[in-house]
């Protein structure tokens, strides 16, 4: 048994961390956070040059074909840097959906452009507040035409293409749904920027009015493909969340080791020590769940859906807690705009919501336990 990343994977991690600490310091994040730009174009270009976008894309489609463990390694580093680039929308969601359900032409058409950084993709599900369900999906995709409205589409203003969950028949259930690939620059597509709690991940409302689109996978399979893609994205995002949580712990610790109150380092008070110990515990548990997810992802294991839900819930809880209590540890200064704490506080919530809230994943987790009897 070996429940650790390989030396090559660790080298990849070290070089990625070095690269991002140089090219993606928080001032880079702040630029996007405070600016109108949806993402940092230079950083995106360089990330493409590093080949990260194609980490898990087979060589025949222009990727490096390294595999998912390597992609998990990259994901953790992007999470640590809260990199302001449309990586997750493009790689975890769009590319994964094409790989999961695309025809050979579709793979040939989209994947090389993704690997080279020419194409930004995203995935559109929600149409309003509340749970995303087959029932709540009103957008229609019939006869190659897509109509309806999607909200809170991550990187929606900058994406070239979107995969859209829509209704393909009158069947009110899962089987009535399909996925459509649509060129967001084509006729019948209108976009509006939406304010995001995390301006370093911009959102958009996208309206489709008889926009031309091509099918991804069979009509009726929309829901089932989506949920497979979400499982994979959840594991990759869990690594971003664990990376973020880890940085919050380090920030809090460093501050506690230099801030004095009542003549003592605040890190010598149990209230701070135990808070940080809990951050550590949650983050380690989340990391272990994410590792298991990475294994399931890389081996396409039967346990993938359970592993994904566990990684998702665990990482969301760990990042939420770490981001929240990192700010608290910093005290007043941590609540100022000038400090970086709030980037992580906001990113933690955004990541925790963008693939669907904990509640849905917890329910999914228990359903998997009921099937597997692993519970």
């Amino acid at each position: 048994m070996n429940f650790d990343f390989s030396d090559d994977q660790k080298m990849l991690r070290d070089s990625a961390r070095k690269f991002l600490s140089e090219k993606c310091a928080t001032k880079t994040v702040r630029k996007v956070f405070e600016g109108a730009q949806g993402y940092d174009k230079d950083l995106w270009k360089q990330i493409a040059q590093m080949g990260w976008l194609g980490t898990a894309i087979p060589e025949e489609f222009g990727g490096l074909g390294l595999g998912y463990l390597e992609l998990c390694v990259v994901a953790e580093e992007l999470g640590r840097a809260i990199a302001p680039v449309p990586f997750s929308s493009t790689v975890y969601l769009f590319a994964e959906a094409i790989l999961a359900a695309g025809t050979d032409e579709q793979k040939k058409k989209y994947l090389p452009k993704i690997a080279s950084g020419e194409l930004i993709g995203t995935f559109a599900r929600a149409e309003g507040a509340g749970a995303v369900t087959p029932k709540s999906t009103r957008a229609t995709f019939k006869g190659g035409k897509l109509s309806g409205k999607k909200i809170a589409v991550v990187d929606g203003m900058d994406a070239d293409f979107a995969i859209v969950l829509a209704r393909s028949s009158d069947d009110a259930g899962e089987r009535g749904t399909a996925l459509a690939i649509v060129d967001l620059k084509s006729a019948g597509v209108a976009r509006r920027a939406e304010d995001s709690i995390d301006p370093s991940r911009k959102h958009a409302e996208i309206t489709f009015d008889n926009a031309g689109a091509e099918a991804l996978g069979k009509a009726g399979d929309g829901w089932q493909i989506t949920s497979r893609v979400l499982d994979r994205a959840a594991i990759l995002t869990a690594f971003e969340q664990v990376g973020g949580a880890d940085v919050c712990l380090v920030m809090a610790k460093d501050y506690a080791m230099q801030r004095y109150a009542f003549g003592r380092l605040i890190g010598s008070y149990q209230a701070i020590k135990h808070k940080l110990a809990d951050m550590y515990i949650n983050t380690e548990l989340a990391r272990s769940n994410a590792y298991y997810g990475a294994w399931a992802l890389s081996t396409n294991a039967r346990e993938l859906p359970l592993a994904a839900a566990a990684a998702r819930v665990s990482a969301t809880q760990a990042f939420d807690y770490a981001a929240k209590e990192n700010t608290q540890t910093h005290g007043g200064i941590g609540y100022t705009w000038q400090m970086d704490c709030h980037f992580f506080y906001k990113r933690s919530r955004e990541l925790g919501l963008s693939l669907g809230p904990q509640r849905s994943w917890k329910d999914k987790l228990v359903s998997q336990l009921e099937l597997s009897n692993a519970g």
Binding site: A126, D195, A261, G263, G332, Q358
Partner: protein
């Protein structure tokens, strides 16, 4: 045990209502969002209106009911001022926030330590809302540790020359005067080397810079002093007695009955949201886990509300509410953070939006973004728990390495 007014209370309530209805319009629905915006920005918005309303109340004796006549008060009881506040809340009047610190903390301190000339000069204009006061205690080097402050005041003849920086000063941007805690002797233990003054905030030697909060709002300021000259007559209390003076000020702060914080985002608003949402298994309000959380938060809100009633009763019996008032902010701040985060979970992907793009006009996003500030401002969760443990339960202080060391010998990381 009953919730009815006594005869006198009922009479006073009627009186107050007569006056209020003659001077203000009943209040319409006000969104939780507005409340939070006020909390965020210290209600700098409607200053003129606030001042006018404050003057009206002062002239009628409602501005500071428990204070003597001619001082903007009517020599009333604490219960009467509680009743007036309850009634005033039903009318569409500008917020009194700008005056809260001056009248709640600064002026009472001036009453205790100022000379007659100062009392004569400053009390009435403050009660009438003509002059606004702020409190200048916190510093970058001493947040929770207020007495760790470094702003120096040096005696030069009959004047003091003050240099240094304050932070987290609420309302400094629109204040006319402030009470300022300074260090006048760094060679004695930190609590012994402090001295309190009141200063003119319009002095060119005073520079106010607003602080932008993580939420985007700006309710607080940094205040810089560069060779600010202050007359010795503006000293409050003896030289070196500043900490005792400050404790009076802070004691007055706690007299304000808790509750009300948290920008009114509570169970009611959460249920309102839940009524509008569909989850995987049907209406959100029918979901067992949603219901359980609503109940958990409700018992804390209700418990706090009735604790406030108990405190009011104590006040009306002439007792002084103790530090148990500190429980309010601990409970409210975390509850605001938890309810907001949970509401965003219910909203799902749409929960990641804010402002008008988000459900409920982004009220929960705003609550969630301001909650971390509420958990810190006016005493962090940790400091407040210390206060409860030490002052309510009587547990011993933590080991204090800073008590008997000269301030300039105290470890500070500098």
């Amino acid at each position: 045990m009953d919730f009815e007014d006594t005869q006198d209370e009922a009479a006073f309530r009627a009186e107050a209502n007569t006056w209020l209805s003659a001077n203000a319009r009943p209040r319409g629905a006000k969104s939780a969002k507005d409340d939070i915006e006020e909390m965020e920005n210290g209600a700098a918005g409607e200053m003129a209106a606030s001042k006018a309303w404050q003057k009206k109340k002062a002239q009628a004796g409602y501005a500071r009911i428990t204070w003597p006549k001619g001082m903007g008060g009517m020599g009333g009881t604490p219960m009467q001022s509680i009743i007036f506040n309850q009634e005033e809340a039903k009318y569409d009047v500008p917020v009194g926030a700008p005056f809260a610190i001056g009248l709640g903390m600064c002026i009472p301190t001036l009453m205790t330590y100022g000379d007659d000339a100062a009392k004569k000069r400053y009390i009435v204009p403050a009660v009438q809302g003509d002059e606004i006061w702020c409190q200048l205690f916190s510093e970058p080097a001493g947040g929770s540790d207020v007495a760790g402050l470094r702003t120096r005041a040096e005696k030069k003849g009959d004047e003091w020359v003050i240099n240094g920086q304050k932070i987290w000063t609420t309302g400094a941007q629109f204040s006319d005067y402030g009470i300022l805690l300074t260090r006048t002797d760094a060679n004695v233990p930190k609590h012994k080397g402090l001295t309190m003054f009141y200063i003119d905030m319009h002095d060119p030697a005073v520079e106010v810079r607003p602080i932008k909060q993580a939420s985007g709002g700006s309710g607080f300021n940094e205040v810089f002093f560069t060779d600010l000259k202050v007359k010795d007559s503006q000293r409050l209390g003896e030289v070196g007695q500043g900490w005792q003076v400050a404790l009076t000020t802070l004691m007055h702060e706690r007299l304000a009955v808790g509750g009300g914080q948290g920008g009114g985002l509570d169970v009611k608003e959460l249920m309102g949201l839940a009524r509008t949402l569909e989850l995987e298994d049907g209406p959100a309000l029918k979901n067992a886990s949603v219901r359980e959380k609503i109940a958990d938060w409700y018992v804390r809100s209700a418990g706090l509300k009735y604790t406030t009633y108990r405190t009011m009763t104590a006040l009306s019996q002439g007792k002084q509410p103790g530090p148990e008032a500190s429980i309010a902010k601990i409970v409210v701040a975390s509850k605001l953070q938890d309810i907001s985060a949970f509401a965003m979970e219910l909203e799902g992907e749409a929960g990641a939006l804010k402002g008008e793009d988000a459900p409920a006009h982004g009220a929960f996003q705003m609550g969630w973004m301001s909650a971390p500030g509420l958990r810190i401002a006016g005493g962090t969760d940790e400091i407040l728990r210390n206060i409860i443990a030490e002052r309510v339960l009587g547990l011993p202080q933590d080991v204090r390495v800073d008590k008997d060391v000269p301030f300039n010998k105290m470890p500070s990381g500098r």
